[in-house]
Symmetry: C2
Amino acid sequence: MEEESSQVADHAKTIHDMEEAAEEDRDPESKPLNQPLLKRSRTLSSNPLAMVGAKVSYIESLDYEINENDLFKHDWRSRSKVQVLQYIFLKWTLAFLVGLLTGLIATLINLAIENIAGYKLLAVIHLIQKKRYLTGFIFFTAANFLLALFAAVLCVCFAPTAAGPGIPEIKAYLNGVDTPNMFGAATLIVKIFGSIGAVAAGLDLGKEGPLVHIGACIASLLGQGGPSNYRLKWRWLRYFNNDRDRRDLITCGASSGVCAAFRAPVGGVLFSLEEVATWWRSALLWRTFFSTAVVAVVLRAFIQICSSGECGLFGTGGLIMFDVSNVTITYCVMDIIPVVVIGIIGGVLGSLYNYLLHKVLRLYSFINQKGRLHKLLLSVTVAVFTSACQYGLPFLAKCQPCGSSLSETECPTNGSSGNFKQFNCPAGYYNDLATLLLATNDDAVRHIFSTNTPTEYQIPSLLIFFALYCILGLFTFGIAVPSGLFLPIILMGSGYGRLLGIAMGSYTNIDQGLFAVLGAASLMAGSMRMTVSLCVIFLELTNNLLLLPITMIVLLIAKTVGDSFNPSIYEIILHLKGLPFLDANPEPFMRNLTVGELADVKPQVVTLCGVEKVARIVDVLKNTTHNGFPIVDGGVVAQVGVGNGATELHGIILRAHLLQVLKKKWFLSEKRRTEEWEVREKFTSIELAEREGKFEEVAVAREEMEMYVDLHPLTNTTPFTVMESMSVAKAMVLFRQMGLRHLLIVPKFAGGGVPPVVGILTRQDLRPYNILTAFPHLARPKEGEKEN
Amino acid sequence: MEEESSQVADHAKTIHDMEEAAEEDRDPESKPLNQPLLKRSRTLSSNPLAMVGAKVSYIESLDYEINENDLFKHDWRSRSKVQVLQYIFLKWTLAFLVGLLTGLIATLINLAIENIAGYKLLAVIHLIQKKRYLTGFIFFTAANFLLALFAAVLCVCFAPTAAGPGIPEIKAYLNGVDTPNMFGAATLIVKIFGSIGAVAAGLDLGKEGPLVHIGACIASLLGQGGPSNYRLKWRWLRYFNNDRDRRDLITCGASSGVCAAFRAPVGGVLFSLEEVATWWRSALLWRTFFSTAVVAVVLRAFIQICSSGECGLFGTGGLIMFDVSNVTITYCVMDIIPVVVIGIIGGVLGSLYNYLLHKVLRLYSFINQKGRLHKLLLSVTVAVFTSACQYGLPFLAKCQPCGSSLSETECPTNGSSGNFKQFNCPAGYYNDLATLLLATNDDAVRHIFSTNTPTEYQIPSLLIFFALYCILGLFTFGIAVPSGLFLPIILMGSGYGRLLGIAMGSYTNIDQGLFAVLGAASLMAGSMRMTVSLCVIFLELTNNLLLLPITMIVLLIAKTVGDSFNPSIYEIILHLKGLPFLDANPEPFMRNLTVGELADVKPQVVTLCGVEKVARIVDVLKNTTHNGFPIVDGGVVAQVGVGNGATELHGIILRAHLLQVLKKKWFLSEKRRTEEWEVREKFTSIELAEREGKFEEVAVAREEMEMYVDLHPLTNTTPFTVMESMSVAKAMVLFRQMGLRHLLIVPKFAGGGVPPVVGILTRQDLRPYNILTAFPHLARPKEGEKEN
């Protein structure tokens, strides 16, 4: 092991010629400057490509580490009390704005969907009442076709990243992976209108996931001061010009989105904490909570305004989705059995759903790659199929007589909402399947959750409902429109929950509506594998605290059962998209591997001198794709404790900063160290925070090539380091916990001609898949367990 | 800066003579082996003493880092699938048991308190009805005196660590500070019975804090297999023989305690997350949630059993403390004003309370240090004073006529509970102050929270109530009995909340009872500075989701206001006790200091050779008090990339393991490396996990002194390291996030005779106070802000 890892140090004298491993190997054809002296059979691969939205893009890592270079240090020292207060004030103002805007946009979306879908359904019901079934079908299908086409065209043509829920990408961003165009203005707008179109088209997808993404987009745009091309260069905002603060703001945005989707402020905070965020601090908990509180207040005000009937068809629909607070819940010890059964079924079905969805998504990505037309066709095909089923299947159900306890206005109804739809039935009768299918998704959930209606739904109708939504749930998610996963899963889960409730019959006192709620919760836990946050979301949704203990048991069982089969749906999507997400727990085999061994199978590290020739910098930037270069000063003059000729690891410099140097032509005619004022005259920390520089934009004259640059002031002098004997497991935990982009490997030897840095680790190097490719003997399939 | 930090490396040749800085300088008189060559004016102080309970004790750090030595690595490699499943099964079983036992003990405590206090109050009321006021007073005071004496004697004589709430010590434990005797069997038993006595004595303290500590004690005892002297040496438990798993279990225990105290399972989890825990992982969220779910089920079963009246005077008392779910809450936009006012008052009063409590606690610690008798006297004095006030003050209140809407059984009442106490009033009248004072604390809270009773309490009565509980709240907390902080703060807060409700009069529609709830919430936020967890606890307590938005606003305002004055009450207590708690956010001045400069003002690091002489080990253990020693191998034979004569930093060895080596006399007659089987024959990982070894117990014969020990197999080969140029801020974040005990400082120079390790950092070195003592110029009072 030691021999192996120290091979890296073989040619310490040629530090200048060494080269670093590719973090993001943009140009796989580019040959390394020097071939490694030792031919290696195994190399650590890294793939910078990932699916962003439905497109394959290059991805980059984020700089969550504080870049402590001289400019930062100066800024830090000179920061006045007023500036600190400005920063704090701005932080809270932005959190407030994120909440406010998310709340307002959620309001807009709800209003639009309820009105569009409502008028559409009213027209269809009107036609059905006149027995013009075929006209009704054509109208219904055409309306849905157009709405779906609208959403799909927006998505395909203007912002492909707006397709899908966006939650996996937010998860990846908060883990340190920047997916391009994910949080831009175009994505935001397409997401808003695409979501309205897709949900109003009656597709089996929710507005919940998109709302989370919308919250994150708002946060990102606010944090950077507007859309990328028209950014506000407001002085105050410069404190936010770093990935750390933006990360916190996006966490606030994601929480606000969940809160807006479910009116669950605490649930929103916990969702971010449990599912989305990688790093979490107490201070962030508080700020996130503030954002969601603002959203809750906005939504409350909106409901109050709408309760007077000024919002068109909105009425009481939309937001308070599944209020079951009016139910008196009684349950006894024996009720634990149906609860456990629901949990187990939820876990099994949830993991089965994950498995099948994975297959469908792979098929879809194959279709989607064929071009825009294929994407559009797929989307509208699903929309037409959905419409046909929703319209046609209710004809299969038998008409049920209205109960004697129901008034005439209650049953049958012909409005856009109402629990007993007449559809094709004679007066005094209702069609239970039409109640479930010919309604907006929110209404469908409300209908199937309805309590104290033990005889409303027939078993055949529920079976058709469940089967239909299983099929739709699998085939709708992957199409090119903004789509959330929450609602399809809730619909599916409530279907089998209610079926189970009927099957239990007189055995239990639990209401069938609660069975539906528990079924939905179990399937969500079985598929998404959240516990505390789901529990709180359901608590806030159902507004009934007495449900809490049984909900907890259902969630725990469903998650446990699901975890024993496959990972959560978000992890599956992350993997499918190829986003280099770092898991919280290292794989067991990582304990048996040192970072030295890992560095050994990588191309050697490319270092720069503290005062470097321009030609060398240009050369390195052109021929490598690395984003960080260690700065090594050779031949240190003897000091106390340090002999002559020692080399010094000064720190690490980012590619972006090297590009800034070249762009600004901050060149020296002789090889010397600069003073602090010189660099402060030329660079500001705002400029250094920019990441957008491209090497192609730089032009260096031939005579400038022979000049020098003092890289010391721009170097991060406090990079995190590990010894080469460090185990990969520990290094990975360090990397993830500290939110690093580069981790330097220092030798465990002192003296004897060892270079001060023997390697560099990046996110890609720590991914289990990449490691196992280089070290196939480590893969022991029998030990699939992770530590935790 | 560079010159300064490299002075450390001055005498690289004398590595063996170097010595390490004291982590826990047990014997401040012990002289360092070699005086540092450079006389330093400033040194980094470290104080290993802290108040544990009411006693000053030596404290130690915990080993949360995974000690990757050869034995661990072998264990890891040879771990079978079955063992992994055993471990997972055990983890969940223990989490279940923690929940179950905490729930049962909470039941026991509630039953005992309600019955003892209930019969006591019934007897007093009986005497008052007969107008035998003096006898009533004597009986009341004597009963309370005896109960308080019982609690105090238990605490003072058997387990001084059981005094107080215990939450700060749990916080410190989870931060990595081991406070001796804090989680033992004696503490647990004294805490249970002391809490029963103290609360039944009517003292102004709650059972909530003690329940949290009880949960943690149960978890700790289960995790180590029983009390320290009678530990189960069950094979399965050996996987738990490490500080990491015990930490997780104690987090579960603390959550269970909060859940048992407030019947708030989600609130319990969030309390641990927000207030108690330093490290948190998604997996832990789930396990904690499981524990609290078990507690919730146990409590529910218990309430169901007791609702049939088989629990003596328990009845409906005790657990469901402040259910206000039957209130229909209406509030409008204008209600924001009283809500903001409550928040501001809560913040101001909360920070004032923190300030005054700090002063009182300092006074008390002065009294308590004088001996056991003083402690006992202080406790019973407070008890007698409390009794006198509770009995005497109601005589000051005017009798109020019962409203016409109340039935005769409702008003006046003479039972142990009931909202309209007759006390000294004629028939048809009630004494409002007696209702509040002559009841158990839980009942008092229920009475003052009571809704739809706008005329029940008079302003003078509420003023007396508020003033009394302000005084009692300050002077009761520090006495030597188990005491929680939640209830005193709730009582105080509800007092001014209700007063404010009366003052608002017809301006607002919010019920006075809700004002009392909001007042309690605001004072808790103002003093304890929690937000999300308090919000959820209040949500679960009051069982009314409509309160959520205004509770959130109140909490946010109160916390913001409070934070601008002083730190939270737990931080104040932590500071007062001298526990070396590491904050989440580094102080700003830490950015301007490197770890090299820090290492420079410490005594030099003591290193050992890989194969070391016994005499040297004995010498080092005797003359230093450090708990970790870097292992440096000199004169490495030339390898690929490493020249002759290089030194190698092999890792770090713990004092406990050196003691094991000496105890087991694992000595070699010649200087050689051992094989892996040799060490596995002698040591098991269970033995290495023990921490209890003392140097005094070791006897080494004179001839053994010249023998050798191969320390390599016992060395943690993967210690975390930082470069000497690393800033202290980053190093501190690393230290805290990774849960370290030692952090090695490596040189930034390679070659030139630099030693492979130039210093070592411990918890004490990273405390702001210690740093500022050594570098007074860094303290800039104008910048009190922390980063976050």
